[in-house]
């Protein structure tokens, strides 16, 4: 079984490609576990929102990476530059976590206890 979806999501960040692959995996699991109903459609839509939010984060982190590259390249880069990057990163991380927690609970509310256990069973 795949590592729990939120395990990676909530660690956030640059592992976005794998994260997106994990969301796709959960989508596949969902299609196996749930019948083709409106409830399943709604749950899939929530997963799609997670994917979109993750891609948005990819873009933001890409910009931060560019700034980081400049800092690394500058032998005399000041602590202020790093601090500024830090603040941007922390703010983005906070926002991303909040969004993903919200989506996680929206997703949970769309699944029964049994379906949840089946999708996120250890192994």
């Amino acid at each position: 079984m795949l590592i729990a979806l939120l395990t990676i999501i909530l660690l956030g960040g640059g592992g976005s490609n794998v994260l997106i692959a994990d969301i796709q995996f959960v989508e596949e699991q969902l299609k196996v576990v749930m019948d083709k109903t409106d409830e399943r459609k709604a749950a899939l839509a929530t997963l799609n929102e997670m994917t979109k939010r993750t891609k948005q984060r990819q873009k933001i982190l890409g910009k931060i990476l560019k700034q980081q590259k400049k800092l690394v390249a500058d032998h005399n880069s000041s602590p202020a530059g790093t601090d500024k990057l830090w603040l941007e990163l922390t703010a983005e991380r906070t926002e991303f976590h909040a969004d993903m927690i919200k989506l996680r609970f929206a997703f949970k509310d769309q699944l029964s206890r049994e379906d949840w256990a089946e999708i996120f069973k250890p192994g």
Binding site: I3, A4, L5, L6, T7, I8, L10, L11, G12, G13, G14, G15, S16, N17, V18, L61, I64, L65, Q68, K69, V72, A73, H75, N76, S77, P79, T82, L85, L89, T90, R93, H97, I101, R104, F105, K108, R113, W116, A117, F120, K121, P122
Partner: protein, 160 residues
């Protein structure tokens, strides 16, 4: 021949520096440290130490740089261990259908705090490294970093 070897050494530094710094800039979430076996990483750090010794002209400064690289290695290993533990904690909470939002918020706050502490240490090491490596030596390393940037980003993506 020597020029070729020197170039390769620069590339080794570059290939390591970018992902490693990124680990901390992105909160240990870019290049998943736990995805790389520690023993493989140790070999990479050995190569990095060799490179520093070769590239930095003054033996005393080279020694200092080697010490800083070892500190860097230590914090990378600590981050690997922390991340594995963080993932396990989140995985366990996520699997719990009855987990509350407050529990997630608290857990993430604790994890962020631990990640940030590691990151602060890494940034301090990087700053100290810049003090040890001269301004003249630094561009050579950065140039190699640019040369291998694509490869490094590719490594980052696949390592995740």
């Amino acid at each position: 021949m020597n020029k070729f070897k020197r170039s390769n050494r620069h590339k080794t530094v570059a290939a390591l520096l970018l992902p490693l710094v990124t680990i901390f800039i992105l909160g240990g979430c870019s290049s998943s440290p736990e995805d790389k076996p520690i023993e493989v990483q140790a070999q990479s750090f050995d190569a990095l130490r060799d490179t520093a010794t070769a590239v930095i002209s003054d033996p005393e400064r080279a020694n200092e740089a080697v010490g800083l690289i070892t500190q860097f290695e230590d914090i990378i290993i600590k981050t690997q261990i922390d991340r594995a533990e963080h993932r396990a904690r989140i995985k366990a909470l996520n699997a719990d259908y009855d987990a509350t939002e407050a529990e997630f918020t608290t857990l993430l706050a604790n994890i962020n705090e631990e990640q940030d502490a590691n990151r602060e240490i890494a940034v301090d090491i990087r700053r100290n490294l810049a003090l040890v490596v001269s301004a003249d030596e630094w561009p050579g390393i950065v140039k190699a970093l640019d040369d291998t940037r694509g490869e490094s980003f590719s490594t980052l993506q696949t390592a995740n």
